[in-house]
Symmetry: C2
Subunit: 549 residues, 2 copies
């Protein structure tokens, strides 16, 4: 699936070849599929089970337990870190061969797992609250002793001088960092494709994107090939891939997870901050991570982090009933039928519960929001990205070029100087805050994307996610279609009449027969820094949807 | 004391005349000094008592009680809001005639005080936790229905469309906003002089500055002419005037007090944030305000505010003993003898207490810090300030010009683009955080300024305060010389050999006989967002210094 541009310099072509060799050699020998499925095999979700490379125990341990359960079993010494790691290494390797989601498996993880087992054997104690748990990371989260290229060919050899703060914290919690995953060129795609590794595809339909920019993580997670992963989100890069793969993804407010040591092509860019966040298969796993992470006091090493814990338990008491706004459309692009169906079912199920009061939530100028956030992403108009590409000779990929064009157009439209554009941002934030207060809602449930996973290189609708980056409100994407039983519903009779070019573009890439079996996520949004309340609200809604009470 | 530049346009000269008339007419008729003291009367602190305009009760109520006690008496209906207001209005007017500290007294305060008295009489309840307490504000904190010019002649008629968020909160707490105070042109002086009202002088020695940029507040407070005031601090503008006037001033971390609705000439400027903060005559008054303010949940109307309370009670438990670093010099400019003496006495008194462990705290590259913060103050190099001055024809005052020059020189030195300069900021912050952690201190006590109040137009040493704006660490200035009994100590035998130009400049404006009777403040600093811990640490140190235990 490699699609390097022809004009990458020979030196860098060599370096790419080397990086691919490093990746290939990092895969365990006992995890190599004897025959790769043909490209017309679109749904590969059964292959890890069917391929015969995983033992029954390995299948069980990777499929049946979430991180919370695994951590319990590790602490109780019912499983060893080494055996668990081996199962996930194999499964991640298989996932990679099916979806192209890894940049490397980390060989040092084996030693770390052995050390964890030794420690608990000798002391009877765990190394920390995530003792022995394998964890995967988007490649940009730097790891000491490895190159961290952030998907730029020019940086392919860029050695990391230290672990990113999150990596150090994970190690301090006893976790085993074992896999690094793919990301798109510039990070500014809701897909995952770059000129080093090519595109990461969706395990449920390999014609479609795994989402992005943290799509490597969700490709792994959707194939049960990691129990806990981390990506970044500056416009939807955690929530969109989580939603398109049917898993949980939490974009906290900025100031909750340290981004120190994460490689981005825009150091010092301050107008819109991205944040790291976790991917899991359950809400309680998000709570597990944040509770454990808070206990490490990450604010001591990174003063940009709020010195307050995040966890469901730390939430202020929720209003009873919780007043939940439902946003059916952002007023810019109406969601396609698969998303509409899930929204209808959510409303239906929540409306009968005495625990929540469901009200409509109207969007406020989301078209303006898109202009304001894109005008503020880069202070150099994307010059650094172009410069990095020019250094190696790599082309801007179509989605990168599209985003650079969007940003430049909107920069000019929103304000002459960075100060002007930032003032526009602040004005918008104030207006939206007033709007939220006037709506008198505690939380909002909204679409994450207007569609299910789209065909490769067609993702252009960031509006539903980017609004909450502009506002810096915490938002957790949850696997809504699974929770409300919306998979497989026949969508062919539902019509969608486009009312503008964006909707027409969306419809052009929509196929109801394909979409009806793809996951749809929604997001739960709360006020800025109400991260604990966001998780607590999600827990309440999960309880109503899943347990019916 | 008016010192408008000759080339201010006739239109604006008229408008200035009008503003001065508004100010003059706002002063109560029964507060006008029959004869102003001659300009060679330097210490005017006794005049409010000696002038005969204040009754014994008015003297007692303004001098003997802090805000905490006043609020108690108001709530117990031992005093009325109207009588209290009248006492402070008279005293503020007298203070103004002596130091030139006001921009206006607010006539509507009288009605607000009457309404407060009516309310408590009818309901038996207070309007809120600051029921009936007169409060003064730096003029830039906008008040509905009044012009807010932020000391720019060009904005002298600029009507305010709404109350600043802090004003709305103060009203919601039951406080009576009664006075608006002077600030310097551009806010970027540690003094208080502008082309509308001239210079605000120090009540203890009118040849010297009251400090700035919130010097109007501290001139009031030092003459017992307000029980609670508010200013802003982006480089020392709360702590420096507090220190030079012997009162308390707290610069919290950014994100604690809403700055929404505060007028600044750099909207959208995001690299270094200023913050509002309170001035009081006691530490418990700072706690009173923050406790009350937190109870209004200011984060609901301004999402840039952390949704967590600030108060001594909210502090995490302090380490026992508290490890306090003492910074004797910033390595750029050594403090003059009056500050040295206070530092020595603090160390002496704290060292014998079992409650604290006193250790030296070494500065880290504070010369670099100054370059980095000044390079990041403005993204337009001060162009907006020059433009505003040009609009009316007012000259840049010498201290404004000095600061513009500092910023431009350092911008060029620190980085080519705003992104580069911000990256330098982030790098510095990381290094300093590591340094703080390596020092293993819970709090640092440091000088606020290297000198006592200097002669007008000579203040150029911001380094001791600006470092904590760069770091965004909370810092509370406390009246140290009073607390350790260091007033009046003969300084004439102490030598000071300048080792660089800055020290030579400082020495040139130093007179030990003048300085020995001027207050010296110090500041207590804690980690970012450890605002409650900062107040709690100050409370511990106060207890040791004042009560000896």
């Amino acid at each position: 699936m490699l699609s390097t541009a022809a004009d990458i310099t020979p030196h860098f072509q060599e370096r790419i070849k080397h990086a691919l060799t490093v990746l290939e050699q990092s895969l365990p020998r006992d995890s190599i599929l004897p025959v790769l499925p043909k490209t017309d095999v679109l749904d590969v979700t059964d292959i890890p089970r069917a391929c015969g490379l995983l033992s029954d125990w390995e299948l069980e341990i990777t499929e049946q337990y979430d991180a919370t359960e695994l951590v319990k079993q590790l602490a109780a010494r019912k499983i060893t870190a080494v055996a668990l790691l081996h199962a996930f290494r194999k499964r991640a390797s298989i996932a990679h061969q099916l979806t192209n989601c890894l940049t490397e498996l980390l060989p040092e993880a084996v030693g770390a797992a052995e050390a964890a087992d030794d420690y608990i054997a000798k002391t009877g104690k765990t190394l920390g609250p995530l003792h022995g748990l394998p964890v995967s990371l988007k490649e940009q989260i730097a790891i000491l002793g490895h190159a961290t290229h952030a998907a730029f060919v020019a940086w392919i050899d860029k050695k990391t001088e230290r672990d990113a703060n999150l990596v150090a914290s994970l190690k301090a919690m006893g976790a085993i960092v074992f896999a690094r995953t793919a990301q798109p060129q510039s990070f500014m795609h809701l897909e995952t494709s770059n000129n080093i590794y090519g595109a990461t595809v969706n395990a449920r339909n390999r014609n479609l994107t795994a989402g992005g920019s943290s799509g490597g993580e969700t490709a792994l997670l959707s194939l049960h090939a990691t129990p806990l992963g981390f990506g970044g989100d500056i416009g939807g890069s955690i929530r969109a891939p989580a939603s398109l793969n049917g898993v949980w993804g939490f974009k906290p407010s900025v100031g909750r997870i340290s981004g120190a040591g994460v490689v981005v092509p825009w150091p010092g860019c301050d107008s819109i901050h991205g944040t790291l966040g976790a991917f899991t298969r359950s809400l309680r796993d998000l709570d597990l991570f944040h509770t454990a992470y808070s206990s490490t006091q990450p604010w001591l090493d990174d003063p940009s982090i709020l010195p307050y814990p995040v966890s469901i338990q730390s939430s202020a008491p929720l209003r009873k009933p919780l007043r939940v706004g439902i946003m059916k459309t952002d007023g810019v692009v109406r969601p396609l039928p698969p998303v509409q169906v899930v929204l209808e079912k959510i409303i239906e199920k929540l409306s009968v519960s005495p625990l929540v009061e469901v009200v409509p939530f109207e969007p406020l100028d989301h078209d303006k929001a898109w202009k304001v956030i894109t005008a503020n992403y880069w202070e150099d108009g994307g010059a650094k990205i172009e410069q990095l590409c020019a250094e190696s000779g790599e082309q801007l990929r179509p989605l990168t070029q599209w985003m650079v064009d969007q940003c430049r157009t909107n920069e000019a439209a929103v304000g002459k100087t960075t100060q002007d554009r930032r003032a526009a941002r602040d004005t918008f934030r104030s207006r939206y805050c007033e709007h939220w207060n006037a709506s008198n809602v505690d939380a909002v449930i909204a679409p994450v994307t207007p569609n299910t996973a789209p065909p490769l290189d067609t993702s252009r609708s960031w509006g539903y996610t980017a609004i909450w980056n502009l506002m810096d409100y915490p938002a957790v994407a949850f696997p809504a279609s699974e929770m409300v039983g919306a998979y497989g519903i026949d969508l062919s009779t539902r019509t969608y009449e486009p009312t503008n070019d964006t909707e027409a573009y969306l419809l052009k890439h929509y196929n109801p027969h394909v979409s009806q079996n793809m996951p749809v996520g929604l997001q739960m949004v709360t006020r800025k820094w109400m991260d604990s309340e966001c998780l607590a609200a999600a827990a309440l809604v999960e309880r109503i949807l899943v347990e019916g009470t």
